[in-house]
Amino acid sequence: MTTVTEHDAVKALQFEPHETPSSNRKTEGPYRRLARRFRSNKLAMTALVCLLLIVAAAIFAPLLAPYPPAQISMENRLLPPTSGHLLGTDELGRDTLSRLLYASRTSLLAAVTAVGVAVVIGLPGGLAAGFFGGWPDKVLSRIADAVMCFPYLLLAMAIISALGPGLRNAMTAIGLVYAPRLFRIVRAAVLEVRHSTYIEAARTSGTTSIRSITRHILPNISSPLIVQVTVMLSAALLAEASLSFLGFGVTAPDASWGMMLGRGFGNIRTAPWGTYWPGLAIAVTTLSLNVIGDGLRDSLGRERVRPPRKARKSGGAG
């Protein structure tokens, strides 16, 4: 199996020198440079703020929600957005806004759980494979390749059907299925770093392997790792939504955005607004995560500068 994309991805994520002659920027450390470039990316900063607001809404849901999310009120079924219920009600008369806020906790936590599982499995695996090479690498890589052959949702569903229902099992399954991808990225990054000369120097000076890993390798793979985690969070969010939509994720009376979307679809002809809000919530959160991920990737890659329009000289040359 070719690893063109991972290699390219890692290459793009490595710290690279400026392609234009630089000024005093050479003295900047890599993390400060990352922070500076990220801060100057207005779009990414907006997305970051947006994400933080969503997380805050999730944390403070009990304070923000106008109604208890499980409060059933059969005479108020399927109401459109009104002054009493800002986003309307669902088929059991429960306030959509309140449910949406509480569901955000479930969905966000689920995504974090899944990525956590993936990191716990993929990171050590990738480190080991990249650093030690040889048989451990061959075996782990083959297993990762094989697992990646399965369509992730199907595999997750199969694992869930074996483990039993419930959101925790579902997200563990997702995490297991995502782990090989993280493994590959970490392994590729470790291999890149391993070949740079200062690692060789450390080896010749006799530092032990564990030391090499923590001192030299970890800081250098942190950048591709951060970007990948961001990407995975948004993928896990979508995965949870898919599973809950199908009925394999959360179980009643808990709510997640995906499940609300599923219920909303059932009533799409009579109460289409039931599909707007949860979908929008997922889309906005995923978009924020993606834009942040893009911003991180851009801040780590080559700085592509374009002169301001009026400063450009016209003419045949160039």
Binding site: T20, S23, R306, P307, K313, G316
Partner: protein, 343 residues
Amino acid sequence: MAKNVAEEVEASSSSSPLLSVEGASVEFWTGSSWLRVVDQVSFVVPAGGRVGIVGESGSGKTMTGLAILGLIPGPAGRLAEGSIKFDGHDLAQLPPAEMRRIRGNDIAMVFQEPMRSLNPMMSIGDQIAEGMRRHWGWSKKKATNRAIELLDRVEIPAAAQRAREYPHHLSGGMRQRAMIALALACDPKLLIADEPTTALDVTVQAQIIELFRELSDERDMALLFITHDLGVVSELCSDLVVMYSGQVVETGDVDRVFDRPTHPYTEGLLQSLPKLGAGNRELGFIPGNPPDPAALPPGCRFQPRCPHALPICETSQPELLTIGDRQSRCLLNSELSLQGVGS
């Protein structure tokens, strides 16, 4: 304002030079301002002549070469000022379509790393034939036949077979020869070679240089040879342009400059040339590094590394002065008697 060689030559000779660069400056956008990497460079290449541009990496010599062909990487880079007169036109003012007609046709360029400069997915023959098909409208068959002839001329064995192969099938030296064949495709009047031998073995270097000499002689083709290696220039070129930190610091006939340089930097370069039969004499070198273009010293740019520097050199910027048929950018020009190497 420094008098440039072009005016001198025009005044004294009946034919004007093939290429005349005057006051050319190249700048790059740093994200907040324009940074100048080539500063008011002027020199001349006579028709059929061989001129060498010598300098360290970062001296701006490659950018100068790219500027002539309008290949400065944009939009962050630009030719800020100056004229590049070739065959009666100012290339800097030419519309893109006209410039395309000249590239590969009247002026061709050979780059430093042949593995990266050749398209890995096109056969050698196709790549060479492209120029002829584009500029002369030749058919694929006709162009490929000529491509094979050219490969033969650059001494690649089994040329017909090689033309069908891809760059990765060839060794480093052969790839560079193929690049030269590519550049020759449309019989250019001027060939710009940017460090063509740097990435090659020493033995192959000598062969390639010999090849350049032969080609320049038999085709009456002018050669602008960009390198950091003074030894190569002494073998191949008749005139020399020394660049430092984006500026021209010395020009003149190669033998004369070697015999008696007029700029301390040139003297330093000459001193660091290995000399055969010199016994155990240590290899001289110039300590220090060229200045950061964004943090230039207030006076002469070479002053921090110059063994002959005086206090005035720290505060005054020297102009490029013309003395006879040579030029030199040194404040202490007339006072210094610098040491050259007999050629």
